[in-house]
Symmetry: C2
Subunit: 437 residues, 2 copies
Amino acid sequence: MNEEMSALARAVRQASFRLAATDSTARSALLTSIAEALVAGKEMVFEANRADVEAAKKDGIAEQLIHRLVFDEHKLQDVVAGLRALAEMPDPIHRMLRDTELADGLRLRQVTCPIGVIGVIFESRPDALVQIAGLCLKSGNAVLLKGGIEALRTNQALYEIIRGETIRTAFPAVDWIGFLKSREEVTEMLRLDDLIDLIIPRGSNAFVKYIMDNTRIPVLGHSSGICHVYLDRTAKPQMAASIAVDAKTQYPAACNAAETLLVHSGASEALICACRALKTAGVHLKADLRAAAILSADGIETASVSEPDYSHEYGGLTMNVHMVDSLDEAIDHINRYGSHHTDCIVTEDAAAAAHFEALVDSAGVYHNCSTRFADGYRYGFGAEVGISTGKIHARGPMGLDGLCSYKFVLSGSGDCVADFASGRRTFTHINRMEQQS
Amino acid sequence: MNEEMSALARAVRQASFRLAATDSTARSALLTSIAEALVAGKEMVFEANRADVEAAKKDGIAEQLIHRLVFDEHKLQDVVAGLRALAEMPDPIHRMLRDTELADGLRLRQVTCPIGVIGVIFESRPDALVQIAGLCLKSGNAVLLKGGIEALRTNQALYEIIRGETIRTAFPAVDWIGFLKSREEVTEMLRLDDLIDLIIPRGSNAFVKYIMDNTRIPVLGHSSGICHVYLDRTAKPQMAASIAVDAKTQYPAACNAAETLLVHSGASEALICACRALKTAGVHLKADLRAAAILSADGIETASVSEPDYSHEYGGLTMNVHMVDSLDEAIDHINRYGSHHTDCIVTEDAAAAAHFEALVDSAGVYHNCSTRFADGYRYGFGAEVGISTGKIHARGPMGLDGLCSYKFVLSGSGDCVADFASGRRTFTHINRMEQQS
């Protein structure tokens, strides 16, 4: 057992109760102060980041990862703008969801509140630290943060600015943010189910699956993103092509990039048009026999696909092509092989789109648009702490709402259940919310 | 591996997709049909129940459990009324939570949907089978039900009526309900995390804890109910007494019964008044030294309390009494030893009540009323499938809302992210919900 880590978690938990009781003004003021302090202290952060980037280059880390690691003036402006936007947003907690008069003088309110203590483990981008800390602070959640080891110096500098502002402004919950440095601390964190309410892991599939399998703390996130584009019988070939290309190639490493193109057997023209465009965009196609025959007749070469390919996330420029004979067969394929993330139907048939939307068991069900739209920013949530493929609590991109729980607050004047059990008093259950609006 | 059990779960999962697509009318019609069929087939159920009760008596099962096992005309009328009420309620699914124009022609809707397949394991009361099945059907969830072995004949008879009506009325998702008979099937069910979305266990603390520790499927419920009544400095003695007696004795075996009476050191009169009333109601008191001294001076005898008692759920007529020197000390005690279920402050001081409500980390935070109100019926939810002490997804009594998730439905006309990334198009994020209301 790591004593230091559990002492930190206990301090953060203790702070979480005070944080939950702060009003919106106090939390927004701190968000604004942090934004200002980041601007004032940017040189310290840039310097730490240069050291991280240099070390990463020395270690031969891939160019793409180094690109994500860089924290420069542009990234700073982004996170500062994000914090200022959060400060302006309405308070997600202390919001009334229900107001019922249970009986004369007995009032039940259902009020949003923070979840409590959230453990977030994130990948190399240091800007994620500021975004996640901002979302947690705005929603009144205390947070334990663990970033990638390659960004340790940058993350530490960012954390110190946030922690420093918390102390300088005498914020009432000083320990609301905790910073973890080692993998051992993560292992210990996963054991602290009495101190931590939720874990949000962001990283590789294997890593997220490891977290999900090794803690009793609820975990929200996704271990894989196996998204589909289905070209229905009435799909417009040009639209099919541009959606398939965007969904596959606009950012192939993203979880919302598509891995499989499903095509109705009556949509050969759309199949050919989409696959030609994908080939042109540099995509390697793995097709089943029927699709391969049609494509080959048109001079489009494909490799052969095997069943395990349908549950594989390529994360790069490879795509499966599979032919189905009906909309229902496409839906069954998606529900069986997909990861319940985001799936799209391309069709001119509104009834088919409605059927697809009703039956596909995914966080995002799309009609005539790219799966790449599945993202908290694009959805207008301001930011996201992660994307959940589960159906318990938040589903899809998780913004401030996903970081909230609620309490039932009941106020009376000595009310006892015995009086209702005996029939001396009766429940009225009058909805006071409806009457207000 | 139990092949029969996994085949059943697969059939129920397959049905869950069709069920999710049914409209409110179809589900409400089936609820009404089941209510009628239960009335028509009641003699079969009563006969099965007589056999269960007789066998239970022969096995020497406690009188209280036999009382819960009985399914008679009165229970039948209750469950039939419950089903009819559910049929009349508004549809909890297909409800729009958000409607945003992301960009010109690109519309995002967040729409409620069922969770999918829910496994419910419940105790001896056979009426619970009908209530839970009704809540699941209304919310479009397929369900795997496992009742207590002592109610097997009654549960089987009730299940057969529900299944029979599903077939007779040609309901489009025939396998929406599955019935488990053995403990082995429960063990197998806990393994099927690819087929089952949520487990709701209802039963003894040890049993619920066993379930929570032995499955990767999300579990909602509570393993213990350690509730508190705190008498603040300004508590009215008479009110303190009646709330303490109701919270402890109105139904001592319930999870929302109180286990510990916390008393401010400046509230001696309330302490004496409450403890005298508790003694009169037959409650055995275990007090700390300071409380014991005051009570003993007034002729009220107590046993001594030890620290482990504070985290023990008696479930019977025993109660801890602990003195604190401040409201914050009471809050710390509750957050430390309680089970985050339901806790009450008795006070005439509105600021103290607000502080308590903000800082106590429980599903129910009450002011001047008994903890026994924590219940789906009393809250006006119609019924409950369980009470959750977790903060992820539903918290407190779980009714229809707790059985729903949501999907993001995005509709466009060929929209691609590349156009936004390049700056050719921009997001508008116009809230169309606000404009409607």
